[in-house]
Symmetry: C2
Subunit: 244 residues, 2 copies
Amino acid sequence: MANPLESPVEPQEDCQSCPVRSAALFGEISPELVERVQSATQPLAHPAGEVLFEAGQRADAAFTLREGTVKLVRSQPGNRSQIVRLLVGGDLLGAEGLFGEPYQHTAIALTPVRLCRLPMALLELLRTEDPRFTDALLGRWRRALSEVETLAVELGTCKAEERLAAFFLHWQRKHDKHGDSVDWLPLPLSRTELGELLGLRVETVSRLMARWKREGLLKEAGGKIQLLDTATLHGTATDEGLCT
Amino acid sequence: MANPLESPVEPQEDCQSCPVRSAALFGEISPELVERVQSATQPLAHPAGEVLFEAGQRADAAFTLREGTVKLVRSQPGNRSQIVRLLVGGDLLGAEGLFGEPYQHTAIALTPVRLCRLPMALLELLRTEDPRFTDALLGRWRRALSEVETLAVELGTCKAEERLAAFFLHWQRKHDKHGDSVDWLPLPLSRTELGELLGLRVETVSRLMARWKREGLLKEAGGKIQLLDTATLHGTATDEGLCT
DNA sequence: CGTGGCCTTGATGTCGGTCAAGCCAAGTGG
DNA sequence: CCACTTGGCTTGACCGACATCAAGGCCACG
């Protein structure tokens, strides 16, 4: 629906002071380059639910996610889709253009998001200019690979309970970067989406969560959840000695 | 069992004429560097079934697979393991050491293999010396990511039949690089291993293959299979419009 | 006030896991 | 050479986890 031209463009912001800069791609590049980056990038904001780009489209820009959560989806003919990754602040998406390939996923905002658009030309420039930039890319790709692998392992070897419990624990760990665990963590995924991530149907997810709430393992309110008993959750995840 | 010192070391070979060189990591580096590479690498051979390295070990070398097939496995406590990738000639394995991490998988030869051992020091050297080397690494990581993603999608959204059929088709496509499809393609995986790849148990794999043989969709003999009716196989893979 | 999403809960079905048994080929040792 | 093991494959009987189908509740929004 939203015309790309209408994508609300934020007032120009300062990369030097970008909250996610140290975590992001440009944590490592030289200060002089940062200026060129700043002039070539374009800050954007999108509401929840909006499609950032679609699988198969020409990948003429990558994006740095400054704030919010995004899902990367691979859709199958036949109404089934699989979420392959969840992105949070500081993550990079849509860089497949560096290989001349179209976007491999459909990216959809799960919350309102703010991001920086990085035109391919800029990335190419950085790649030739600063070897550490390529290194940073390499690190990101490696991390992504590792995440998808653990997803595959869980999909292949774990049962429903275990997968869901493992997800909650992963998700929690992803959200206390500061070491101090926040107990109310945002859960911007619908039951259906949890299912699409974990290879389950809505009803299964719903039942499991209902049961866990009944048993006092977790609470939920207003799009946030609180893990009350991570110990037994972890136990469920590794039931029979399986999974993370 | 095999003492690493006993790993049969082949007579020194010539990288310049390496059959997989163009496909491999060093297709792109300068001829002068190739010499230094040659002096620092170490050709190895292992019989089928041998463990090349184990998850968690210090990753002090990567390997280029010159010939044969290798499985990368992530094992779970509780007797379950998941094959996350199958490697064939020209593939690179064990490069996670570049990030100071231990090996992320256990690598096991499915056939007799020949490979080149690349000490981490050499990789570090190449990384600083030749930017195109890092680019090559990037490409490999990206391809690996893409493969694991399709695995995850299949594990998450497809049923047994569909996954197995899809695997055979992928496997076939991987083996006719020359465009001309060889009809007898090697299948160095046991039923159990097929199960570990596709998230199924031996019995399920066995039953499906037995049925397909009965129905004349495929033949099997001496560790090789022949897909007789790729059309209906493809139909099975995408049953109800799903999967590749 | 009605409509459409999302969630919940129950009833029923089925795919694939589990258990168990037997087959076959390749060792191994007497 | 034969008895015995061992490991992979097959097949059948059974069962359970999860999907499917169906109905109803809750809430936001027009």
